[in-house]
């Protein structure tokens, strides 16, 4: 669903820009943070319709952010898409255990990114439309 809001947390600002370049073309409203703590606070203050999380980040990593997000009633239903660098089965299981919804292995193709984002933002808007 276009016009949905997406928040990206990744310690590489170039990657945020690249993903934003793809998704804003589709009509999504994209915001991001390269500081994982600032990203968490922004997401809790203003829950997006989809949260895209890098896994390996200094300070607070993607697993922890997802765990915390799942514990707050305001954000517990926000779908979470992980960007993982490794493809081991263990990571996929950890993604499940912290409450992740889906994951994308880096490096990914833009078509795959679009497909997953579409799937995760379809059906449910997190907030009422104004």
């Amino acid at each position: 669903m276009t016009d949905a809001s997406i928040f990206i947390v990744d310690d590489d600002p170039s990657l945020i820009e690249a993903v934003a370049a793809v998704l804003s073309e589709e009509g999504y409203r994209v915001a991001g943070a390269s500081d994982s703590r600032a990203g968490l606070l922004a997401v809790l203050a203003d829950p997006p319709d989809l949260l895209v999380l890098d896994v390996n980040m200094p300070g607070l990593n993607g697993w922890e952010i997802c765990d915390i997000v799942r514990r707050q009633t305001t954000t517990q239903d926000v779908p979470v898409l992980f960007l993982t660098g490794r493809g081991e089965v263990r990571d996929q299981i950890t993604a499940l255990q912290v409450g992740g919804t889906d994951h994308l292995r880096k490096p990914f193709r833009v078509e795959e990114l679009r497909r997953k984002v579409r799937a995760l933002t379809s059906g449910r808007r997190h907030k009422e439309s104004r």
Partner: protein, 438 residues
């Protein structure tokens, strides 16, 4: 036409110091609360120091004596824990000691601690109040677990309760006094558990000496046309007994150091009662690494005898077992293959090691763990995992069998993904007598 917009990217600046402090608070909260049960991880009496004396403790321990989590997966254990937690909350609402209840906490793995402020009651009366409460709570939890999970997991989850009272000793620091009281309650629960365990080992000895095992058969179907590939032999103890399910039997056998005896009896029971339907299809038999590497089992005459009893035997070994016993396994595999046995990895995908090593064994079958099959039609990540297992299977020439299919949605997803075979309650329950087509 696709909408071609380009909205500017909004970048959030780095968190200011208050932001960092806020995140640290969230991290601490995370550490203080268990996400599955929603309970605090520390007991909190919430009373002034002077009233620690007279605090009554009921400690409820889930008996994980079979290692439920590693056998059934973390998702099942999550459900067991959250069900136990909500059961406790409900029972406390209707409890006679509701007014005195102060704290309900979880120890992070298998124990729940309830605190009651009984300081207004005389010391002699305190245990008389706590014991019945502990029993009531325990029965409540057992009842709900049985309702939700049936007998299978619950036999492994026997719940034990212990009580203790914090003694009034002004020389002791109240926080430590309370902690010691809790430990006492834990020990009391463990004592009950240990007694129960002894009783179970005795019961198993009786089963072994009386050859009290029976076999049930669960069909494995081709998902495309529901033709029968074969049957998995599942062992059962006496119906309705605590030692009915194999997990219970094997755990008690491990406790009593009777594993090989048990496995031998299992094989004997299986091979002495093969129904015709089983004899004319493939026979799937579970075996542990310990059994398979035992010289008595590997004895040629023994293997030949098994082959005479059934022409097409597939030996199922759990993925975890292989990982732990890999070198021994590799050697054994050749002998078994030479004797005409085929080989299946059971519970694939539930272990956390890389699969590469195991796949070097080139099993003929890969049985996908129930934890992955469960609700996979609603879970994109599980489907990904399954897709990668499928492609791995293709690479090494292994046939995939999905285990524990319980819902239509799961079945549909599996068929869509191209998984060839499956077994589970939806397709066919384990039964002593084999009926005709499903």
């Amino acid at each position: 036409m696709k909408p071609r917009g380009h909205r500017p990217l909004r970048l959030v600046p780095p968190a200011p110091p208050e932001g960092v402090a806020g995140v640290e608070r969230l991290r601490l909260e995370r550490l203080a609360t268990d996400v599955v049960t929603g309970l605090p991880l520390q007991p909190d009496p919430g009373v002034g120091f002077e009233r620690v004396a007279g605090m009554g403790i009921v400690y409820l321990q889930l008996g994980r004596f079979a290692g439920v989590e590693s056998l059934y997966g973390w998702e099942l254990y999550d459900r067991v824990l959250s069900l136990t937690a909500s059961s406790l909350r409900e029972d406390l609402e209707s409890s006679g000691l509701k007014e005195q209840h102060r704290s309900l906490s979880f120890n992070g793995c298998d124990g729940f601690c309830l605190l009651f402020d009984l300081s207004s009651r005389p010391v002699e009366r305190q245990s008389a109040l706590l014991e019945p409460e502990a029993r009531r709570i325990r029965q409540g939890v057992l009842r709900r677990l049985r309702q939700a999970f049936g007998r299978i997991a619950v036999d492994l989850m026997n719940v034990y309760a212990g009580v203790a009272s914090v003694a009034d000793d002004p020389r002791v620091r109240p926080s430590r006094n309370l902690a010691r009281g809790i430990l006492e309650a834990v020990r009391a629960a463990e004592a009950h558990q240990s007694d129960a365990r002894k009783g179970r080992v005795e019961a198993l000895k009786k089963v072994l000496s009386g050859r009290g095992l029976r076999v049930v058969w669960q069909p494995i179907y081709a998902l495309a046309d529901r033709s029968v590939l074969g049957y998995e032999a599942l062992i059962r103890g006496a119906a309705g007994s605590e030692l009915e399910m194999p997990d219970a039997l094997f755990t008690v056998a491990r406790e009593g150091d009777m594993l090989l005896e048990l496995e031998n009896l299992c094989l004997e029971t299986i091979f002495s009662s093969l129904p015709r339907a089983v004899r004319s299809s493939v026979l799937f038999v579970n075996a542990s690494a310990r059994l398979l590497t035992h010289p008595v089992f590997l004895d040629e005459r023994n293997l030949a005898e098994m082959k005479r009893a059934h022409a097409s035997i597939v030996v199922e070994v759990s993925e975890k077992e292989i990982v732990w016993n890999y070198p021994a396994f590799r050697e054994v595999l050749e002998r078994l293959r030479a004797a005409g046995f085929r080989f299946a990895i059971d519970d694939t995908g539930s272990g956390y090691s890389g699969l590469e090593t195991i796949l070097q064994l080139r099993p003929e079958f890969m049985k996908i763990a129930t934890s992955i099959v469960r609700n996979l039609h609603q879970d994109a990540i599980k489907r990904e995992v399954l897709a990668s297992l499928l492609s791995l299977g293709r690479q090494i020439g292994a046939t995939l069998v999905a285990e524990g299919i319980e819902g239509e949605g799961e079945l549909r997803s599996l068929a869509e993904l191209g998984i060839p075979y499956g077994q589970g309650f939806l397709l066919g329950k384990p039964a002593a007598r084999i009926s005709a087509a499903p």
